[in-house]
């Protein structure tokens, strides 16, 4: 039988606010356990939540960016369950009236195919604390620093049909939330968490199969592997005459498999009801307009603009606009250089990205800033530097030796572009290698490369390669 995979994702994006969603405690990652939890976060008797306006603004920003319905009135509800790292015995979330309702987003896969994925809703909620099972000798430690951190839960429609599509969607959302400055996107620290609802059905069947929710996926690679494992598992179950059970499953990256965590029968009755401690969130048009005016250019718009404005290929434009900081870097370098956009794109996507990858750095941490790269591009564009010399200058800039001009000056790397000077070197080399000259003239073209190398060596690598070629050819053929 032919099977079709159906996937919907629930993404928890931690909002980049300074303080928690319902208290003034800091949200900074990595502090000593329980040092960033005040009476509200601890769920102390009598403590009350007060909504962080910045969390609302970020949620609205997201809603506007995905062309969603931003509800003018939304409600916080309590999701009741007992767990040691859930201090109040309930999580404040949104149920019936989320702040962001139906929206959509365009996703593009690596092979260039694109599609629209529906977003059912996005709602604000608070994170729980952490249970620490190591170092406590059979006991459990509770760290409530994370309790009350603002999250936006982004729920997609079951619109994806393969693990690759799901990854493309997750990456698109990841890029978007970073663009919007609403989430740092750090998957290792849990700032961006993805749960996948996976089911399979016979191809052509309209109804969905029974789904399993796969949790604990903390990288895009694991997301793809977890979904693929889960799809195969479900197909095996169905083909051997079994039934898929609705349940929550944890992905184990070490064994590359998913394992049952709890079944529907064990699922909680969360007893949602409107939180009486919080008023409905009411947004007026003026507020929405203000947030809208503050929206940055969105990834897809920027990509289209790069293609049009800079005559870049869709591939280059996608690469450069994947991150807002990278796109800004490119445009800033280009502004300084005033060179061909393609030259700047090649350097950003080539040498710069390679160096960043090798050093494990983010673009904003690059030792070579956009101004510096622009300076280098200028010297390439005006023929001061050959490609080879430019690489040498780039390496020196990366090592902190200063700007391109200073390095060129200091190292004497200026390219020789004076025709007379090049001709003099060529003549001297030809005089030195009469046998090779004779070979060339008898038709052995291959020796041309040797002669080029000798001239460049004599010029200490600084001769303009195009001019060198032209002069050498002219001398040999005359």
């Amino acid at each position: 039988m032919q099977w079709e995979t159906v996937i919907g994702l629930e993404i928890h994006a931690q909002l980049a606010t300074k303080s928690k969603i319902f208290s003034g405690s800091s949200t900074a990652f990595g502090a000593e356990p329980n040092t960033q939890a005040n009476v509200v976060d601890l769920g102390m008797p009598g403590a009350l939540p007060v909504l962080n306006a910045e969390a609302v603004r970020l949620a609205v920003t997201f809603g506007l960016a995905i062309n969603a319905v931003v509800n003018r009135r939304s409600i916080f509800a309590r999701k009741n369950y007992f767990y040691p790292d859930l201090p109040k015995g309930y999580q404040i979330s949104q149920m019936d009236l989320p702040i962001v309702a139906r929206g959509e987003i365009l996703i593009e896969q690596e092979d260039g195919t694109s599609q629209t994925v529906g977003i059912t809703r996005a709602h604000l909620e608070e994170d729980a604390g952490k249970s620490l099972h190591e170092d406590f000798h059979g006991l459990t430690g509770i760290d409530l620093n994370r309790a009350g951190t603002p999250l936006l839960e982004i729920v997609s429609e079951p619109d994806m049909r393969s693990a690759k599509e799901a990854v493309a969607y997750a990456k698109t959302i990841h890029s978007l939330v970073r663009y919007l400055g609403m989430c740092d996107g750090n998957m290792q620290e849990g700032s961006f968490r993805v749960d996948a609802n996976v089911s399979v059905r016979p191809k052509g069947q309209a109804e969905f199969g029974t789904r399993a929710e796969v949790k604990n996926v903390n990288s895009f690679r694991f997301l793809e592997r977890a979904i693929n494992f889960e799809v195969e598992r479900q197909i095996d179950v169905l083909e051997s005459g079994g039934k898929v059970v609705q349940e929550t499953r944890l992905y184990d990256p070490d064994r590359d498999e998913t394992r049952s965590m709890r079944s529907k029968e064990e699922a909680h009755d969360y007893r949602y009801f409107p939180d009486p401690d919080l008023l409905p969130v009411v947004l007026d048009e003026a507020y929405i307009e203000t947030v809208h005016a503050g929206l940055p250019e969105l990834p897809n718009d920027k990509k289209q603009r790069f293609v049009k404005q800079y005559a870049l290929s869709p591939y280059d434009a996608s690469f450069l606009t994947a991150e807002r900081e990278l796109a800004d870097y490119f445009e800033n370098a280009l502004k300084v250089a005033g060179c061909e956009a393609k030259l700047a794109a090649n350097w950003v996507m080539g040498d710069l990205s390679a160096a960043l990858n090798k050093a494990g750095l983010e673009i904003k941490q690059s030792p070579v800033n956009a101004d510096m790269l622009g300076g280098l591009l200028n010297r390439i564009a005006d023929n001061t530097l050959s490609g080879k010399l430019a690489k040498e200058v780039f390496e020196a800039m990366w090592a902190g030796e200063g700007g391109a001009d200073a390095i060129i000056e200091k190292k004497g790397l200026k390219q020789i572009t004076d025709e007379g000077a090049i001709a003099a070197i060529v003549d001297a080399v030809l005089a030195q290698f009469p046998e090779q000259v004779a070979e060339f003239r008898s038709g052995k073209d291959k020796v041309f490369g040797f002669l080029v190398g000798q001239v460049m060596k004599a010029a200490k690598g600084k001769a303009n390669p195009a001019q060198l070629n032209a002069v050498l050819k002219q001398r040999l053929e005359s």
Binding site: G43, L48, R78, K88, I142, F273, P276, L279
Partner: protein, 491 residues
């Protein structure tokens, strides 16, 4: 009506203010007087969960310094006690429960902080029904409080410790909270004055939550005039409580003396039906006649959905309580069972041991009402009833200035009777609960006795009409002396 012959513990705040300012008594002597009263009488009454003598004397000393420096405010040096539902930094806040028997809050409730800043002297923390769930103060882990008027009677609840302590002269004023009548009903049973403000008028921050959408702190004192002084400090917007009203609070003492001529009083026929004790009805009638003498006009009105209030309340309040009390899980604070064998055991035994029967009953009712499949039938329906009740009040209060009626259908019952039949106890809240559901202010004032136990009149007003309610109560108290009656044993 100042009277220099009354004992210190029976004086009004304005009388005490005069004595403090004239140096007839120091704040320390005043605090010591009340501490002595508590030492003498509280072993029988059981009003106090904690007596904070050292803190009181320290605060009184500071008050004396302020008075000496000419920096005293209206409340500087005034002794008071807090219902043990308000968090007090460094002092046990038990909420009448074994669950919080060892709980010392790391912070002050907004109400406590404001009163502290105003220079009041906290004498201690007052007994109450466990987590404010009850109408008799008998569900307290610390045992029942007794009614100073009759040691066989309950003082009412849940703010029973507050009402009894004032009636017995163990504190001149006290804070209380009212979720379904918990200020007004004990005020009525103990013959004192108690105001439940409009929902949102007094901050709930630091007040241990029972039913968040209904809970409201308020002042309790002998007189409306003293309630006004206390409310002046308690009321006002608090950024730490999202449900706190941003509407500016008033000087509640400023309008006490406005003439009542032409005041339109509505008497809801549903509040004078067959369930009302004849003795209570007579005291209420006489009070209303007094208001007519003061120039008020009386007419009959109808609040047709009143009978739905109790069932709606006993869905909404337990539903919210079941969630609010989830934080008492034995993990971070409060009672924890010995040697839990696993997480479930920790939860089950800590809560089974920490909570009393009435609290457990309401948690179970509320959990059931919110459960999947029952939510629409109970919780949502109760919310619709709540809207109907609020509409009833809104309609009537557009025709009359205030609504008057009894606080309770009968006088204080005997100790030990009420919990034999909890539903009957719930039904005795019939006149107070609708006011909480509508979020309105209401005051309870003493208007006489029936069966030798005090009777309270309830005056209900529009939202934020606290000044008017206090004005009405004060004018009444200027021509009557029910609020000045002292039980013989506590004169």
């Amino acid at each position: 009506m100042s009277n220099s012959s009354t004992a210190i513990h029976n004086k009004t705040l304005s009388e005490l203010r005069g004595m403090l300012d004239d140096k007839q008594i120091s704040a320390q002597e005043l605090a010591q007087h009340f501490i002595q009263r508590i030492r003498t009488h509280d072993s029988t009454l059981n009003c106090f969960v904690s007596v904070t003598e050292d803190l009181a004397l320290l605060a009184a000393q500071q008050a004396d310094e302020q008075i000496a420096a000419g920096q005293a405010g209206l409340m500087t040096g005034v002794p008071l006690a807090h219902k043990d539902i308000f968090c007090t930094k460094g002092v046990k806040t038990s909420c009448g429960s074994r669950m919080l028997d060892t709980f010392i809050a790391p912070y002050n409730a907004t109400v406590v902080e404001r009163l502290h800043q105003a220079g009041t002297v906290m004498l201690g923390k007052l007994n109450m029904d466990e987590f404010a769930m009850g109408s008799t103060s008998e569900s307290s882990y610390y045992g029942a409080t007794k009614n100073p008027w009759d040691m066989q009677a309950v003082p009412g609840g849940s703010s029973g410790g507050s009402a009894a302590a004032i009636a017995a002269g163990l504190t001149p004023i006290a804070t209380g909270t009212d979720t379904g009548g918990s200020i007004r009903q004990p005020a009525a049973y103990c013959g004192i004055t108690g105001l439940k403000p409009t929902y949102g008028r007094v901050s709930r921050f630091g007040m241990v939550a029972y039913a968040s959408s209904l809970d409201q702190g308020g002042p309790m004192a002998r007189s409306a005039e003293d309630c006004a002084l206390l409310l002046n400090v308690m009321a006002g917007f608090d950024a730490r409580d999202s449900t706190s009203s941003e509407q500016a609070s008033e000087d509640y003492s400023a309008q006490l003396n406005i003439d009542l001529t032409g005041l339109k009083i509505g008497l809801p026929r549903e509040y004078f039906g067959s369930g009302l004790d004849a003795g209570v009805a007579q005291a209420i009638d006489e009070a209303i006649t007094e208001f007519q003498k003061l120039g008020a006009e009386v007419r009959e009105v109808s609040l047709p959905n009143s009978e739905l209030a109790i069932p709606a309340y006993y869905v909404i309040a337990p539903a919210e309580a079941s969630s609010n009390l989830s934080r008492f899980d034995g993990v971070r604070f409060g009672h924890r069972c010995d040697a839990p064998k696993d997480l479930t055991d920790l939860y089950e035994r800590s809560r089974a041991e920490g909570f009393g029967d009435e609290v457990k009953r309401r948690i179970m009712i509320g959990t059931y009402a919110l459960s999947s499949g029952y939510y629409d039938a109970y919780y949502l329906k109760a919310q619709r009833v709540r809207r109907l009740i609020a509409n009833d009040f809104q309609r009537v209060l557009s025709e009359v200035d205030v609504i008057m009626g009894p606080v309770t259908p009968s006088v204080a019952p005997n100790l030990g009777e009420s919990f034999k039949d909890p539903v009957a106890m719930y039904l005795s809240d019939i006149y107070t609960v609708p006011v909480n559901l509508a979020g309105l202010p209401a005051i309870s004032i003493p208007v006489g006795f029936a069966h030798n136990r005090p009777v309270g009149l309830q005056v209900i007003g529009n939202a934020f009409a606290e000044s008017k309610l206090l004005n009405i109560a004060h004018r009444f108290q200027q021509v009557t002396d029910w609020h000045r009656q002292i039980p013989d044993a506590f004169k």
